[in-house]
């Protein structure tokens, strides 16, 4: 009886907060049929927005993946003074407002910023262009690979790595043959999280992009732009595409999750 009450409370809450809102996006997008929704997501601006989002992720995600593995190796295997600060900076994006992230980049690369006059003198455009959007995306998605790999590295210990070194393996061979096979599922899981966070980023890119339709507008910015222009079908149709990507991410997470910590 108590079990049933708890189950009802839990599922009822999830229906109100999670399932209701999700199902309504699909309903609203296809309210007027499939045709208008399809033409809404195939306009040149929409296509450009989705392509830009993918291009940004294609740079930010691999960069963060490499950084994440190196950073985790450093934290677990080669402790150094300042490790605490490093840890804090890596975790910070989990807790910091994306608007603040975007604004910090704005202050660094804007016309009156530290690098502003030098950049404009050399004709390099960072703010209101792709470089700042990549930097913003990389900032907000930096913690995920590190946070997935660190516990696995701790768990596997150094016995095998030391044995390999004793047998004459180079450090690269040790990483390639021993360490990497043990952490690859954690890396994959972290990469999925990083990708999800990158594709969905809104607040930070909204500050640094300048939001020019067809130029610096990502998929999420496109959604809000359509909404602000009272193009409700367009906003919901683009939202459906993003929601489908989110569901794909959940499926991938589910496939990868049981392998966490399995070596």
């Amino acid at each position: 009886m108590r079990k049933l009450t708890l189950r009802t409370v839990a599922l009822g809450y999830l229906a109100l907060i999670l399932l209701g809102p999700l199902s309504i996006v699909f309903w609203r997008a296809f309210e007027k049929g499939f045709g208008p929704a399809w033409s809404a997501v195939t306009t040149p601006d929409a296509v450009h927005a989705f392509r830009l989002t993918l291009e940004i992720a294609a740079i930010a995600v691999p960069a963060n993946a490499i950084f994440g593995v190196l950073c985790a190796l450093l934290i677990v295997r080669h402790p150094f003074p300042g490790k605490g600060l490093l840890n804090a900076l890596v975790d910070l994006p989990l807790a910091l407002s994306p608007v603040v992230v975007g604004f910090a980049l704005f202050l660094l690369y804007g016309r009156t910023g530290w690098f502003g006059s030098w950049l404009s003198a050399h004709g390099i455009q960072i703010l209101f262009a792709m470089p700042s959007m990549i930097l913003a995306t990389a900032f907000v998605s930096i913690p995920f690979v590190v946070r997935e790999v660190v516990p696995v590295l701790r768990e596997i210990g150094t016995d095998q790595e030391q044995a390999a070194e004793t047998l004459g393996a180079s450090q690269w061979q040790v990483f390639r043959r021993i360490t990497y096979p043990a952490i690859r599922w954690a890396v994959a899981y972290g990469v999925v999280l990083t990708t999800a966070r990158s594709l969905g980023e809104y607040g930070a890119v909204s500050v640094v992009s300048g939001r020019l339709a067809g130029q610096t507008e990502t998929a999420t910015l496109y959604v809000s732009d359509r909404y602000e222009n009272f193009d409700i079908v367009g906003a919901y149709a683009a939202s459906v595409v993003l929601a489908l990507i989110a569901i794909l991410v959940l499926l991938t997470m589910n496939i990868l999750r049981p392998k966490e910590g399995v070596h």
Binding site: K3, L6, V9, A10, Y13, L14, I17, L18, G20, P21, L22, I24, V25, W27, F67, L70, C71, L73, L74, H78, L86, A88, L89, D91, L92, L94, A95, L96, S97, P98, V99, V100, V101, F103, A104, L105, L107, L108, G113, W114, L135, I142, Q171, W172, R197, G200, Y202, G203, S206, A219, T220, V223, S224, Y227, Y236, L242, A246, I247, L250, M253
Partner: protein
Amino acid sequence: MSPFAGLTLGVVVTYLSLVVALPLAALIWKSTKSGKTGFWQSLTSPEAVAALKLTLAASLAVALINAITGTVIAWVLVRDEFPGKGVVNALIDLPFALPTIVAGLTMLALYGPHSPVGIDVAYTRTAIVLALLFVTLPFVVRTVQPVLQELDRELEEAAESLGASSWQTFWRVVFPNLLPGILSGVALAFAKAVGEFGSVVIITGNLPFKTEVSSVYIFGQIESGNTSGAAAASVVLLAISFGVLLLIGALRRWATRHHA
């Protein structure tokens, strides 16, 4: 330190400086540029204060609701069996995977002016709390769930065989074990709620003194060119984020000491 480790350190520090540290340094530098009085004036402008108060109150409420609902959901996912449990478990992460702007739009569709269920809370503080509940859903569930999974059932059975009621067993045996997990989940949810932007920006209508939260306030100040005001409010949010992370670090050390 070996050459390999040295190189790794170099790459990691350079990347982290470029992406995270340097922008934050620029932000802090900007906030000091207007001097102590200028900073204080920006910080205590009535609109900024109202936004911060609302942000903290809403985030606190959301964190506390999550403490209860998150624990109940984790409990049901670990201890209960029902058809479709796997799907429900996978859906918990949806708020993480779904872009926040889409989350805001969906909340507006369900609980806004054209609500199919007849609830219209658009442009109210209730709407802020609802949107924040959506985006913070995974945190407590995902920190409590693994602890519950590893919890030794024998402890509870022992308590019950010694005559403890199921309520007593929960409070005296289960709850103390879950507490560090609940608290770190609550802290993460609080931090996320304080900084949330995408999901609240649409549904609140950004009415200053009424539904304007700090991140939306900062965005507005940037748009209107008041970078000193934006910098002061940003530094406050940055300080809160660091504070929460320190707290979570302390909680983690406390939890591992309990396990040992």
